[in-house]
Every structure is written in C-alpha cells, then in structure tokens.
Symmetry: C2
Subunit: 334 residues, 2 copies
Amino acid sequence: MRTIRQLSIILLTALGLASVTAIVGAQDTLPSWNDGAAKKAIVTFVAEVTTKGSTNYIPPAERIATFDNDGTLWAEQPMYFQFFFGLDQVRVLAPQHPEWKNKEPFASLLRGDMKSVFAGGERALMEIMMATHAGMTTAEFEQTVKDWIATAKHPKTGRLYTEMVYQPMLELLAYLRANGFKTFIVSGGGIEFMRPWTEAVYGIPPEQVIGSSIKTKYEMRDGKPVLVRLPELNFIDDKTGKPVGINSYVGRRPIAAFGNSDGDWQMLEWTQGGAGARLMTLVHHDDAEREWAYGAQSKIGTFSDALMAQAKKSGWVVISMKNDWKVIFPFKRK
Amino acid sequence: MRTIRQLSIILLTALGLASVTAIVGAQDTLPSWNDGAAKKAIVTFVAEVTTKGSTNYIPPAERIATFDNDGTLWAEQPMYFQFFFGLDQVRVLAPQHPEWKNKEPFASLLRGDMKSVFAGGERALMEIMMATHAGMTTAEFEQTVKDWIATAKHPKTGRLYTEMVYQPMLELLAYLRANGFKTFIVSGGGIEFMRPWTEAVYGIPPEQVIGSSIKTKYEMRDGKPVLVRLPELNFIDDKTGKPVGINSYVGRRPIAAFGNSDGDWQMLEWTQGGAGARLMTLVHHDDAEREWAYGAQSKIGTFSDALMAQAKKSGWVVISMKNDWKVIFPFKRK
C-alpha cells in the first residue's frame, strides 16, 4: 500500500505543482550515505531525469533500474548465501537419500568434510544445487525457501541472511521508486530462491526479479496442476546473460544499473549503450572491518583490475563501502 | 500518467473512505458489454476480491490478470497477424536474398502462390518466420515491427491491425487496472513482435508481455553492445508453456485469466488451481456477421468441443461475442 506521502507526490506531480525531486529531497532519503562523489552522482542523475523540461528528462515508464543481488544488495561472503541453503538442504533431505552416504560430494558434506566437497569443484557444487533445487514442485520449493530464510543464520554474524542487506542500498531502492523508477533485481542467483522474500526485504515484487533458472514442467498430480522443477539448466543470468535476461523479462533497456563484480560488466555496458542520461555504478567491497574486503583475487564477487579500469574509462561510479556508507547493515544503525 | 480520477480512487481507498468498486461502477466502465451472465460474472468477481472484509478479498499485489492476445484481445483471422508480418517481410528482404528465387517456400511466396507456401506445412511457416525474425539486432527488429504495425492493413477490413482489437476487452483491461489489477499478456505470439505496440494499444507495458521467443546473443558491434536475434527457438508460450511462462515471468499465480482457444486451456486450469476466488473466461468467436464464427474445426484459434465441455464442468465463463458484446471493434462504435 502506498503511503500518504507517496500519494501526495503522485498527485502533486500529476497536477504539475511540483517536481518529485523537490519534494523527495535526497537529504532525508539517503541518510546512510556520506556526502561524496558517489552520492552526488546518484542524486544529480535522478534530478536530471525527473525534472520536466530538462534535456535529460526521461518519462516514468522508461525509468528502469536494475540491481545485482549478491554483493550489491546483500552480502556474499564467505560464499553465496544460496550455497548455504543448498548445503543445509542436503542435510534435511539426507534421510530420503540413503545412497548419499556412499556418493560424493554428498558423503563428504554429511560427514562435515567441506574441504573434500569443495575439492570436487564446480561439478560437485552443481550436483548439490540440482539435488536440492530440483525434483519438487515450485510450491514446495517456495515453502522450503521461506522456512529456511526465516530461520537460517549466517556462520559469522549469527544474523538472519535477510538482515545482512545493505542499509544504504535499501534507502537507494526507496529513493528511486519515490522518483518514479521501477526497480528490478538481475542476479546470477536462482530466480525462485529470491522471489519468496524480495518483496518483504527490498520492496521488489516477484515479477521484477530476474535470475538464473532451471526448467519446469507442467503436469497434473492428484487432479491438481503443478509445476515440477527439473534438474536441467534453463538460463544463466550472469555476464552476457544479464543483458539477455533484461531484454527477455523487461523488454526495455535500463537507465541505471548497479552491480559489484565482473558478472555485472555487460549489464552496465548494455545500460550505458542506450541514448540519453545513464547511471552505472559498482559497489566496491573495501571495508574489512565492517564487512569484507575483497576484489580482484576473490572467487566470490570478483572485481577484476580490468573492471576497475573499465569503470574509470567509462565514467562508472565506484561506491566505496568504507568511505561512502555511514553504516553497512540495518542492525548496526544507532 | 494516472488520471486524476484514478488517483482519487487510490487516495480514497488508502484512506478507507470508499471501496474501489463503489466508485468505479461497472455501468460506465464496461459500456460495450451487454448485461448478461458474462458481464455479471466479471463484475461480481471484481467486487468480491476488492472489497475489504470480504472472505474473498485479495490484496492488490496479488491481483494478477493474464490475457491471451490472438483471438482474445485482437482478431486472428484469416491467420495470425504475425504471419502477415512474416510474409510482408519476405517481400521486403527479398532483394538481399537472391537465392530465395529458387528456394521454397520463399520462391512460391514471392510469386504470390500462397497455396504452395501453405502446402509446405508448419516447416515452411517456421522457415519463413525464422528468416524474417532472426539475424538482426533486437533494436532493428523493434523498428521493423513499429514501421509495419503503423502502416500494414488487414486484407479483409482494410484497417490497421491495431484497430482490429476488441473494444469490450479494452474496457475490461482498464476496468481491472482501475481496480488494482496488474494486467499481463500471455500469448503464443512472439514476445518481441508484441512489445513495440502493446503499451499504446492496450496500456500494457513491455515488462508485462510474455510470449514465445527465440534466443538472443550479446555482442559488441562497432564498439556498441547489441543483442542479436538467433534462428533458434527459446520458448513456446502455448498450452502447457503458458503456466511455465507465467511462473517464469510473473512468479505469482494469476487470479483471473482470459483466453479463447485450446492453447489457453492450461493457463485457465493453472489459474483455477490456486486457492481463493478465481475467474476463468474464454472468448467464443460466434459472430460471423461482425467478426468471424469459428471453433472446433478451425486451425487458427481452435476451440474444441472438449474445451467447451471443460468450461461447463469447471465453471469457466464463455463470452459470446455475438450476445455479450454490443460492439466488436473500436472503429464500429457510434
């Protein structure tokens, strides 16, 4: 439900009595952002595209903003949170799979020998993901994700995973929406892993979540229609897949895109390739004290030197978590 | 942009001062519908799901309505309009393809021998569609569709194809949206064939259009990123594909679904399979005088006897174009 404040903005805008940006000042809507180049770039861009008469004005219908999820909206260390879900589900499902006791990578995982699990590389991880993400109906999987996300805790912070979202990005999402933007997630993560909770956590409804997917099959079970999740890849929403996914799901080119790693490179490039004002930004994880510091050498959320060079060359905004954000996680707010 | 009327409704509703249905009376929002069982079923359903306190109340975020396009929102005879586009494009592209003069089905088509073209069956049609829908960038294809839809005329009526939409359905789309519904197209037609014009014609933005698709590939051309359309099927959004597509794109089950043929069967079945109030309807083409009369025997828009039996058994609303609609096409309004 819209707030009365939002409705007032809509009404006033419709009546031409005020510009949206004049009402929704950046000062009180981005309180966790330090005044610096990153915040200034964001606020300037939003003012430009929302001010009628500006040469860079863009009508609300075209104000599409896309956000990566892992490392951009929530944390991704020491590994993608969806992998923790997969590992937990192997333990939950083990009683139904006695054969796993003698089958890798499941046997090692169930013994708690994570080193051997990871020694199996990508193939072992894919086996774990397929075993825990396919074979059930979409409704069953949704319930499993809901149950897990409501209870599972991060190994380092002891917090719910949905608490490990970035407060400044929550403010940014709300700020953009208050200025007529439609906010989308465009993540390499599983689309059906995100949808059960993105609306409550980010205010992003399921139909605005794009992600990687496996195939589903329609069938009748006990006279009821179900969609069964098949152990077969459908779409990888990463790197060059991100523009493909955006085109497939949204059908418009974003005017603003937010990422944090090499996987977001083409999404930013595609965004910048359109005509008119564009905003491309990358969150840089440079705060070992309050979060994690990683980049070119990290396997999770790689931010290569080449990406940094491209950002500088193309005028992409690099957000320093250490310098641009007053607080990282909502639970650390005073 | 919302109208002041719509904004008033939103504001009043937010303030709890009035029910939406009390303000947006069906009388003046569905003027092209005769008072009959179909209109009554629609109005009753909308009143139920939008009235707070009603046992069947459904919050706005879950008010998803899906519409087939061909034969449901616009006409589909004597063949799907997208095929007319394909045939026209063969003629446009012929100078770049001298080899087509000796290659079927192109040779027959260019000679105007449509009988031989259709004798080639589905394979010939698929060859024509791939030759005219793939090989270019998404931006180039979008412009081609825009140019064609703005000028091409229907062989029987001499009207633009976008004029051959159903006035009662335009009213229904607006009525549902005024009552907080999000309206989606779920069509067997090409997603990128529909998106360039659905917003202007139906008020449905590209991100709410689901359809069949071919694969695309991201690449750089002259230093600019493009998406190239490949001659490879990606997804067929028909029959059991419709629930799959809805789940993939929307991530919620519709509470209302509108179709007109066997291709919509599973979409209606999937819609009905959810808990709570549901509305399933089928447009029946039974008006040879004002449009076309066809059904079980038609290859285009087949409405089989089995579907009619299922509709009766399951309480799906069958809309008689002849009896339920005062006018079919907008250009016939007095």
